[in-house]
Subunit: 357 residues, 2 copies
């Protein structure tokens, strides 16, 4: 089933091989159409803003977040129409975060192309991100017509918390980078990625999907117990991919986290396992601004990681979290009728720890 | 009456001399207290975000926008409680825009101190601005308890439009700067500042204040006819102050607009009045990135402005708009009982064109 029949697969499903990727692709097409529908006209004054908003989404990201919202809603018996607009808003938020993250991290590549601020300058990139956050508000208010007042307001509350958690998580990470603080322990790292990644990538989509479907509080709680460990496993896997994936698959700069001095479980474990002298040298290398770091610095850090088997350590933590997610899903699945949407949710656990991009 | 009795003046009023500045000061104190009350606890993980959010507001801005919302609501017979939270959110938005604007413009000073990105780096500054937009959502939802569902939703719609108009206006301006396009005519400039400045500084506060007070659509329309020309006069006056105010009053870099190559009515008129050769030289100077501009370039532009009497030209346009605002206010004032809030609104017209900071 190709791009030409997105409606069909979402409505009727199909659980043949490769169904997981097809489900993602189909959701992506629907969500891109919905984003185009909810954004103001590009021909109005200042409308170039809306052209630039479409750049990252059209580069072919996975659209994981909207697919998760759609699958949750549909698996719980909700209609596509009840969740599609919210799913599109989640994808807009995600891409706004990416644009600002790329500015904040000084990143050069996003989805294998130049980052927005490299193409158009930091000023325009910051403003396009702001514009995306602004453009998300009206569709969430218009949700009232689609899902009724109570559900629309609860979805707004979820989005408000999502935005807050993301900014707090980002603040923790930026503070660590800026102060070159390498004392964080695993628990602090896990809390940081819970806020920075898990909330907007997994918790907000499942909560919004459940609300759109009219699910009860107990179901929502089970979904949160599914989404939280999955989000943590997802970010750890992302850290691993940054060190080992081929850039043509990953779409970002390989070893970018080392160049940026980002705090990952891998680096925390490597620094922790090093000798005192090595630890001092590692901290000095990590404290350097990106432009001052040398290939030798990065090679030294890579060596520490290898010797400490820090990637294996991080993967074991990811695995523990994904297993917890699988157990939560097993409890949840008993409440769900068989459907391609339930299959997609079930497939997520394996996807998160096995994905190569 | 000093800082010690802010409640009294807002509740009971007082129309002695200096009442306009006192009204602003009193609103400012109430709004700062409200901002502290609605922001999450600074002691939570990532809570440094909320400390940094308070930096700009505490630097002693005018808090014009919340005062305008409060005065509009109170002049129309509404209660302070109905508008205070919304007023605090408008001030948060304003300061978030300032933080991102300072990043986008590469500005060095804000309210006579270093800009946030100079103090903490661009990454943290971008994220603090994002966090402020995020932190504004929950209080606007909680507004339902204060003003009821219908009014709370209409205020949310006003804030959504405000955020969108601001981003569109900013996009128009950044595109002009980036492309070094000096063809804009007065009408395009006026439309740009309507979006970039007038909407969030004047239209959103009066609309939100009117909604909080439960005013009818006709009153809101008159308020818009008052706020729109006033917002335009305000931005033109700001452009004039950038060229002529003492920096200790203005709190920003003097001649910053020339260094940044910003499009103001003054420069548009100066470039338009220049000879062909001068126009070519002016465009070359304006197209240079800030760091490449020389003091000679800026002196050349200043000379063109002086010879064209472009400041007088801009002031005449501002005056026409403020007179239009005064006529709209006269119509509005007939509906309003005498009160310090009505006096504040009446005083705004003179303030906008006479202010020196």
């Amino acid at each position: 089933m190709g791009m030409g029949a997105p409606v069909q697969s979402l409505e009727l499903g199909g659980s043949d091989g490769g169904a997981f990727e097809e489900y993602l692709d189909d959701c992506r097409q629907r969500v891109l159409d919905e984003i185009r529908a909810i954004l103001p006209d590009t021909r109005r004054p200042g409308g170039r803003l809306y052209e630039l908003m479409l750049d990252y989404p059209l580069r072919g990201g996975k659209a994981l977040r909207p697919a998760l919202a759609i699958a949750t809603c549909r698996a719980l018996g909700g209609h596509l129409e009840a969740v599609l607009r919210t799913a599109a808003v989640l994808e807009l938020y995600h891409n706004a975060f990416l644009i600002h993250d790329d500015v904040e991290d000084g990143s050069e590549l996003r989805r294998s192309e130049q980052t927005l601020h490299r193409l158009h300058g930091v000023p325009i990139a910051v403003n396009v991100g702001d514009g995306m956050l602004a453009a998300s508000m009206a569709p969430l208010l218009e949700n009232i017509e689609l899902v009724g007042l109570g559900r629309a307001l609860r979805i707004l509350q979820v989005v408000a918390r999502m935005a807050r958690e993301s900014a707090e998580g980002q603040m923790i990470e930026l503070d660590w980078v800026r102060s070159a603080d390498w004392t964080p322990i695993d628990r602090a790292y896990l809390r940081m990625i819970y806020k920075k990644t898990a909330w907007y990538t997994f918790l907000a989509p499942v909560c919004a999907g459940a609300i759109a479907a009219g699910a009860g509080a107990a179901t929502e709680r089970t979904l949160v117990r599914f989404a939280t460990p999955l989000g943590i496993a997802f970010q750890i896997q992302d850290d691993v991919l940054n060190l080992s994936a081929g850039p043509e698959r990953y779409g970002k700069e390989l070893l970018g986290d080392l160049w940026e001095g980002k705090h990952t479980l891998i680096l925390i474990e490597a620094v922790r396992s090093a000798s005192d002298a090595e630890r001092t040298r590692a901290r000095e290398a990590l404290a350097k601004p990106r432009a001052a770091k040398t290939a030798e610095d990065v090679a030294f850090l890579s060596g520490l990681i290898e010797r400490a088997r820090a990637v294996d350590y991080a993967l074991a933590v990811a695995r523990r979290h994904s297993e917890r997610a699988a157990r939560s899903f097993a409890r949840l699945a008993r409440e769900l009728a068989p459907s391609p949407h339930r299959d997609f949710l079930a497939g997520l656990v394996a996807y998160v720890v096995e994905r190569d991009r």
